[in-house]
Amino acid sequence: MLLLLAIAAAIALWPAKVDNDQVPASTDGPTDTQASQETELSPADPAATPAALQPATNLLDQQAMNAWYAGEIQDAMALFEQAIDATPDDPAPHSHYGRLLTLMVAYDQALPLLERANDLRPDDAQTWLDLATLYERAQRFEKSWEARAEAERIVGADAIVRDEQGRLIVQGTSLW
């Protein structure tokens, strides 16, 4: 017991305990809660909307998502880039485009997008998990664990699972 306590004290620097992967992610449950928030055209208070283009940007992002799901991938990529150019401080198109590029194995292109989304929304667990997935696929395991540990600090270890694509997600969400 003392040994275990000694170990526990000594390994405090290791990334925090993570959840198991045994809980299957729901694929037909509610849609991505964050994506819903991101793509929703919120009732904009003009005074509180510094970027007048915000609704338009969300629309571009939504159009990009629609193109993606319709299989028009190159159109989707162009629309995501337009959305990002229009309002570079909106995390939604960064996250969405970064996730698409991760699926496309374009890790070098996906990383700055997911990092930017994470910078813009550091308290969001899924942006950390998007990074963790990317780093894992790029075989940068230590970085992956660090990002996952950040997500755990936000939502708890038990809330993190993998979806059918092997992506780390907050349980109950879908990245599609």
């Binding site: 526990a8 991938i73 092997g166």
Partner: protein
């Protein structure tokens, strides 16, 4: 098992007792072969040197290679840790034995002669590690591989099958040029296309970028055929195709690798799927590049140090480096030298180990080197649970009952000769 566990705990306690700070000093440099290296030194050196071998990298080599996921722990335990960028990118195994020799030489020059050398690596780094045990002219005491491509050059047989299976199913819908050479190219000038182009083609044919419910029936049908023939998980189709195009092309056309020689073929392969067996393009491997690829590298079991201790772990559903790589390695390495642990996961990943699982393999090797009994999957699980209980990320999913399939059942043999299993 109980004794092994308590021994391990003692090692763990000692191991982590000073796990406070990472490297006290780092040395960066470049060897005469052109590989960059990083050497990190602990506050108090225990005389041991850990060499980390990174995985497959499509990017050009760059200075200051990283030291691997266990470096902080290893440094805290008193080991020096060193890593090479390798001089080659992608399938770098043609020269990695030299890279590691030169790295060791740089370490001796800068730091001194180590009392113990442990070579570690993941994915491609696994076969680089296995290669080092047979071809590098250095004494290695222990080795730790995880999700390693331990079947070595046989990996490219699988890549060729994947590539040509794509053509058999998708060439009428979304062709990718290049066929058995991965991509079009000329000697010395590897064909390269943006991975996104491969992904787009795969999506047009099989709907691999859209939610399953939005695929057309034709896409789903082609995807089902592709998955049935390749036995790969759906989530790895694009990843593996990028290896089967850009990776294969680099292997064949890079002048420092096969220099335009068709080193892989499938002339006599009998594919299990009748449609694929009938329709796949047949390519004959050219003997000289085939031999060169096999030599760089397929493990033979001729270990430089006959007493070397090797721990190798894998996840069971790995969709990039299939778990059967472990049985391929078991065929050629004496069981007294090699301990294998398989982690059973719920969703396919490549190297999706938890921290506790990964540290367990490392601690199992350290314990073995220090005189404890040879570890096995059961003891690795026990060690993992102790580590998890101590606070390192779990869970622990080593399955002592897991039976590893035959590599030749997943990557069909290139000839009709059957090899005899040495154990398991």
């Amino acid at each position: 098992m109980k004794k092994a566990l308590s021994t391990t705990l003692i090692f763990l306690a000692a191991a982590f007792a000073c796990f406070v700070t990472p490297a006290q000093a780092q040395i960066f440099g470049q060897t005469k072969g052109g590989a960059y290296y990083t050497i990190a030194l602990p506050e108090t050196w225990n005389g041991g040197l850990v060499i980390w071998n990174h995985g497959y990298d499509f990017s050009p080599i760059s200075p200051e290679p990283d030291l691997g996921p266990l470096a902080d722990i290893q440094l805290a335990q008193g080991y020096a840790v060193a890593a090479s960028s390798y001089r080659l990118t992608q399938w770098a195994v043609f020269d990695t034995a030299d890279d590691i020799e030169e790295l060791k030489g740089a370490f001796v020059k800068h730091v001194g002669k180590p009392k113990q050398v442990i070579v570690t690596g993941a994915s491609l780094g696994g076969i680089v590690t296995a290669d080092a045990l047979e071809r590098a002219r250095i004494h290695v005491d222990g080795a730790y591989a995880f999700c390693g491509a331990m079947a070595g050059s046989r990996t490219w047989d699988g890549a060729l099958d994947l590539r040509l299976t794509y053509d058999a199913i998708c060439s009428d819908v979304a062709p990718i040029p290049g066929g058995a050479t991965g991509l079009p190219g000329a000697p010395g000038f590897p064909g390269v296309i943006d991975p996104t182009a491969v992904a787009v083609a795969s999506n047009v044919c099989m709907g691999t970028l859209v939610p399953p419910t939005l695929r057309t029936p034709d896409q789903q049908s082609r995807l089902d055929k592709f998955l049935a023939s390749t036995t790969l998980p759906e989530s790895f189709v694009i990843t593996d195709l990028v290896f089967g195009t850009n990776g294969l092309s680099d292997l064949i056309y890079d002048s420092q690798k096969l220099n335009g020689g068709q080193g892989v073929g499938n002339k006599q392969v009998r594919y299990k799927d009748p449609y694929i067996n009938k329709n796949i393009e047949r390519v004959k491997a050219v003997s000289k590049p085939e031999r060169r690829l096999k030599g760089n590298f397929r493990p033979k079991g001729k270990l430089n140090n006959p007493d070397v201790k090797i721990v190798s772990i894998h996840t069971d559903k790995d969709g990039l480096v299939i778990v059967e790589n472990e049985s391929s390695y078991q065929r050629v390495i004496d069981e007294d030298n090699l301990s294998v642990g398989i982690v059973v996961e719920s969703v396919p990943t490549h190297c999706g180990f938890t921290g506790a699982e990964l540290v367990s393999g490392w601690e199992s090797l350290r314990g073995w080197l220090a005189g404890a009994g040879q570890p096995n999957a059961a003891t690795m699980q026990g060690t993992c649970q102790a580590i998890e209980a101590a606070g390192i990320a779990g869970p622990c999913r080593y399955d002592p009952t897991y039976e590893i399939g035959d590599f030749n059942d997943r990557v069909l043999p290139r000839n009709s000769k059957k090899k005899k299993k040495r154990h398991h």
